[in-house]
């Protein structure tokens, strides 16, 4: 609230005009927010939702030419439901199918390791399934860390969870959960676009091999969780 300068009338009586500014906390039904306000990234940058090369370069570099996705699908993979209140195409269903497929491939990898266990079935050791390490391979923190190390988190469109002071830390911002969804959505998108065989190849080559593979990350982080 602030006062304007007093004015004198012809009768010599002074009137003071007061103008109030009220903050309405409750949302107004039907009120539309400016679209730009929802396009601010977790780092506070304004980034348009588009298939520009700069937006998709992180994902394209990671996929390479062998597992490349069309730009529109790649943008959908990188868009979380929280972005723009789900108004843009988002990755929920890709993540749903990708999650189930990833679990199948991770378990397939585990049971097909060479084994001398007497209870193996046709050279397949089912007894490793259900072990803590086996379950940890598809854990949110492991997949989130994988996305972080491969530079995929910077490209994700999502709404960062903030506390009452407008602050957030990596632990409670929801970053790992969103990054996990993105990783599983990549698997789902490759499966739906290239087919199941290519998706299996992708999981084995890109996720389960290499220095920063899910297996190495899980082994590193196992004791801290």
């Amino acid at each position: 609230m602030f006062n304007l300068l007093p004015r004198s009338t012809a009768r010599g009586v002074t009137h003071t005009f007061i103008r109030s500014i009220s903050y309405i906390k409750t949302p107004v039904r039907g009120l539309k927010k400016a679209q730009d306000s929802a396009m601010i990234t977790a780092k506070g940058e304004l980034r348009p939702w588009s298939t520009d090369a700069a937006n998709l370069s992180g994902l394209k570099d990671f996929l390479g030419s062998e597992f490349a996705l069309p730009d529109s699908l790649a943008l959908q993979v990188l868009t979380h439901k929280s972005f723009q209140h789900g108004f843009k195409g988002y990755n929920e269903k890709l993540a749903l199918i990708g999650d189930k497929l990833l679990k199948v491939h991770i378990d397939s990898y585990a049971i097909q390791q060479e084994s001398t266990n007497v209870t193996r079935v046709n050279q397949i050791n089912f007894d490793c399934l259900g072990s803590p390490m086996n379950k940890f391979l598809s854990n949110t923190n492991v997949l989130g860390e994988f996305a972080l190390r491969h530079g995929l988190t910077d490209s994700i469109y999502w709404k960062c969870r903030l506390d009452n002071l407008g602050q957030s830390s990596p632990a409670d911002s929801g970053l790992y959960s969103v990054a996990e969804k993105t990783m599983t959505a990549i698997v789902g998108a490759i499966s739906l676009h290239h087919g199941g065989a290519k998706a299996a190849q992708f999981v084995n080559q890109k996720l389960l091999q290499g220095e920063d593979s899910l297996i190495n990350i899980a082994d590193e982080k196992y004791d801290s969780y």
């Binding site: 189930k100 046709n122 676009h193």
Partner: protein
């Protein structure tokens, strides 16, 4: 002429309460599995060196061959001789085995079979109905792979539960081979400690009760383990075909009834905005008996010149809502023709695969 509300407010797709009742959690299977104790190798990621710490042994094929029930079950499921009876016997050994069980249980096989079923069932419905809201898609898939559903399947397959106790078996001198053809697991007992009569001593310990299984869970795990056995002996493609033939094709779920729209007109408006269509407008197409006790109104909802849906009702409001629901169902229940599921390429990586339609996601209002 009626005009559909243009306000863009959040909406959601409801799921009928009847189906929601089906979605009782899968009883924390992962937690139960974590209770199993493993011989963990020094290199924790060397999965080939894991084993169960009670040092179980596999059922010998020669012993399993003496079980008529196993032969009958294998024939009934049209599993060929490639599927050994010892594996089938293992699939019928519950993950919470009865005390003194020396044979290996089906826990690991059940977990793998469960993952296979979850994937192939979800993939089937995702590709068949690509626009189905995620909640409804989950419910439809769950109706196929829930424990109660798999338990019913095991009953249809003629899997019997071994109800005789160890003492019964000893008294009747029942041969061990006869038990192999039946589902064997440690059954759950009610907690009697709080209501036991004076002088009654409970012989089961708390630990034994915790290691017990419900019959529904045990039956579901047997089905999952049998499918894992198909994967092990006949390959992934055979397991996929078995799941499609036995778990997907033989069960019909009326998806239409699962869709509920608490704010149909708002959701339709939001959908049209997202898809870049003209805002929906409801128009009265026909009416009769406006001033009578039983009027009927027929309303169509249009986006520009395109009719999206039509509904009829005893009031203008009802007819307008039904028209919007009709339009939304037309959108969500879209099913492309001649579509291939991605897993079809698993058998042969050179199979030509045509990319499937990917939906943008459920409309959020």
């Amino acid at each position: 002429m009626l005009r559909v509300s243009q306000r863009l407010v959040s909406s959601r797709v409801g799921v009928s309460s009847a189906v929601r009742a089906l979605s009782t959690s899968t009883a924390c299977l992962s937690f139960k599995h974590s209770q199993r104790v493993f011989n963990t190798p020094q290199n924790r990621t060397d999965f080939g060196s894991y084993s169960l710490n009670y040092n179980p042994i596999p059922i010998p094929e020669s012993e399993a061959n003496l079980s008529p029930a196993l032969h009958a079950l294998r024939s009934r499921l049209q599993l060929t001789n490639e599927y050994p009876l010892s594996t089938l016997g293992r699939a019928l050994t519950g993950s919470k085995s009865i005390d003194g069980e020396k044979y290996v249980n089906n826990a690991g096989m059940a977990q793998f079979g469960k993952n296979l079923i979850n994937y192939y069932v979800t993939e089937h419905f995702l590709v068949k109905y690509p626009r189905l809201p995620t909640k409804v898609l989950n419910e439809v898939a769950y109706a196929h792979f829930s424990e109660s559903s798999l338990s019913s399947t095991s009953t249809l397959w003629g899997i019997e539960v071994n109800n005789s106790t160890i003492i019964d078996s000893l008294i009747s001198a029942e041969s061990e081979q006869l038990r192999f053809g039946k589902l064997r697991f440690a059954k759950q007992f009610e907690d009697l400690t709080s209501q036991a009569d004076e002088g009654i001593i409970e012989l089961t310990t708390k630990d034994q009760r915790n290691r017990a299984l419900g019959e529904t869970t045990a039956r579901a795990q047997a089905v999952q383990a049998i499918i894992a056995g198909i994967y092990a002996h006949r390959g992934r493609q055979a397991a996929r075909e078995f799941i499609i033939n036995h778990l997907i094709k033989n069960k019909k779920v009326d998806i239409d009834t699962l869709l509920q729209f608490p704010q149909a007109t708002r959701e339709l408006s939001r959908l049209c905005t997202r898809e870049g269509l003209e805002s929906p407008v409801s128009r009265l197409l026909a009416e009769t008996g406006r001033n009578s006790a039983a009027p009927v109104f027929i309303v169509g909802v249009f986006s520009g010149n395109n009719k999206l849906g039509e509904g009829q009702g005893a009031s203008l409001r009802e007819a307008k809502t039904r028209a919007a629901v009709n339009a939304l169902k037309g959108w969500y229940l879209y099913s492309p023709l001649d579509v291939q599921v991605p897993s079809i390429t698993e058998a042969d990586a050179n199979t030509q695969f045509k990319s499937v339609y990917v939906d943008k996601g459920t409309v959020v209002i």
